[in-house]
């Protein structure tokens, strides 16, 4: 199971974001890391995704796991359609991508490029991309930002059931988002980051 063991990390050596941080995550279910903006929640996700390496301590239990992620920004390819963006597994990812886009209410916009989509639609394409990708560990960084309440509640319910066999880690500063996904809440605070 994924775990942080005495992890230290800093973008600027004078200002560590994470210091001597220890946390064990369950092997499956939904866990929500809740804390104020800028406290280092995204850094924890980046460490889990392997986008950053701890400068001290270890991040264990993620080796060999297939990761899918909804980034804080949409990170869509502007030259591809919504559907093409959601396909990350070229051989067998086309159908799940189209189906997830349809399920998230974008069935009529599959062939639209991001430039023609609203902020909320782009967010849903990013969510569909993560859900359609084969994954064991689903990382969600403020996935519902910019979505209206009925839409994010619908998306939250779908995500919670979609990854029932794996671990979903939700980063948010909105407790309602965590509650809508039935998540176990872990409260964080401060710089450097610590459990509250």
């Amino acid at each position: 199971m994924p775990a942080f063991e005495r992890v230290g990390f800093a973008y600027d050596p004078a200002r560590p974001v994470v210091q001597d941080f220890t946390l064990a995550l369950p092997p499956r279910g939904v866990v929500s890391l809740v804390g104020p903006s800028g406290c280092g929640k995204t850094t924890l996700l980046r460490l889990l995704a392997g986008l950053e390496s701890p400068q001290s301590g270890t991040v264990s239990g993620v080796e060999g796991l297939r990761v899918a992620m909804v980034f804080q920004e949409d990170r869509l390819l502007p030259w591809e359609t919504a559907w093409e963006n959601a396909v990350t597994a070229p051989l067998d990812g086309a159908r799940p991508a189209a189906e997830w886009l349809g399920a998230l209410g974008l069935g009529d916009s599959l062939n639209q490029r991001p430039g023609a989509l609203s902020g909320g639609m782009k967010r849903r394409v990013a969510i569909a991309r993560a859900l359609a990708a084969p994954h064991d560990l689903l990382l969600l960084d403020e996935p519902f930002a910019g979505l209206d309440e009925p839409t994010w509640r619908d998306a939250a319910a779908r995500i919670a059931t979609a990854n029932a066999d794996g671990l979903t880690v939700l980063v948010t500063h909105v407790l309602d988002h965590a509650a809508a996904m039935g998540a176990t809440v872990i409260r964080l605070e401060g710089t450097p980051l610590r459990l509250r």
Partner: protein
């Protein structure tokens, strides 16, 4: 006539009128031939097989130089952005090539290179720094966030190349090619004027000048300009087609609008 074409045609007519007035004021066909005289000369030239052989040969020379320049410029961009040693060695040399007057290269290269190959070499030399400059800028400005996304979703080398790196580079490549093509053509014709290879627009220009056939000088110049514009248009069309081909994998399958179909299907 479309509304968009009208300003261009009006401007062309204006400058033709200016040319006509100047030729009438000077009244010396050797100095400024009238537009109609040049047009008649151009028609006479176009009817000869030599005209087509000359333009074909010049196009081939500049084409070879241009393509070689694009390949070498791209390779230089990859090397200088990836390896510090290559950057330290190649970048100053390419900056010197970019800054040096083309005439200096033509004269120096005349000593080393056979006359027939000189225009292609000069075109190559002018294209390399332009392509290098643009492609290096494109490589340095690759979107790190998109590359991170590719890494998280395990897109792999080929998918990352085709879906992210190449489409990101295409605008830089298009600018490099259109700028490089213009430079290759201009410098190549200049090299032809000086080196005078057989069957070349530059050689014909030089001959016409020697024999004081000013209408022919104008006619060959118009030919060179028209070919340059045509080449640039063809290039823009080709790169936009490549852009579309790279970007579009095809239409999406149709899906049910019924929400929940995915979850129900167990996806």
């Amino acid at each position: 006539m479309t509304r968009r074409a009208f300003p261009g045609i009006a401007a062309a007519l204006f400058w033709l009128a200016v040319w006509q007035v100047v030729s009438m004021l000077v009244d010396q066909v050797l100095l400024v031939p009238a537009p109609l005289v040049v047009l008649a000369t151009l028609f006479d030239l176009v009817k000869t097989p030599t005209f087509w052989a000359v333009t074909g040969s010049s196009l081939l020379r500049m084409g070879i130089g241009f393509v070689a320049g694009v390949v070498a410029g791209c390779a230089a961009a990859v090397l200088t952005t990836r390896f510090r040693t290559a950057d330290a060695l190649l970048s100053p040399a390419l900056r010197v090539v970019r800054a040096a007057p083309v005439a200096s290269f033509i004269i120096v290269a005349l000593v080393w290179i056979p006359t027939g190959r000189l225009p292609a070499f000069i075109a190559f030399l002018m294209v390399v720094p332009v392509v290098w400059d643009n492609m290096a800028a494109g490589l340095q400005r690759q979107d790190a966030a998109l590359l991170e996304m590719a890494s998280v979703f395990r897109l792999g080398w080929w998918q990352t190349m085709v879906r992210i790196r190449i489409p990101s580079l295409l605008p830089f490549f298009t600018t490099a090619c259109t700028t490089g093509m213009g430079l290759a053509w201009k410098s190549g014709v200049a090299a032809e004027v000086i080196s005078r290879p057989e069957l070349s627009i530059g050689g014909q220009l030089q001959d016409a000048k020697v024999y004081l056939a000013t209408p022919e000088v104008f006619a060959w110049t118009i030919t060179a300009v028209a070919l340059s514009i045509a080449l640039e248009r063809v290039l823009r069309l080709a790169t936009s087609r490549v852009n579309l081909r790279v970007a579009g994998a095809g239409a999406a399958p149709s899906v049910s609008r019924e929400r929940g179909s995915v979850a129900d299907a167990g996806v």
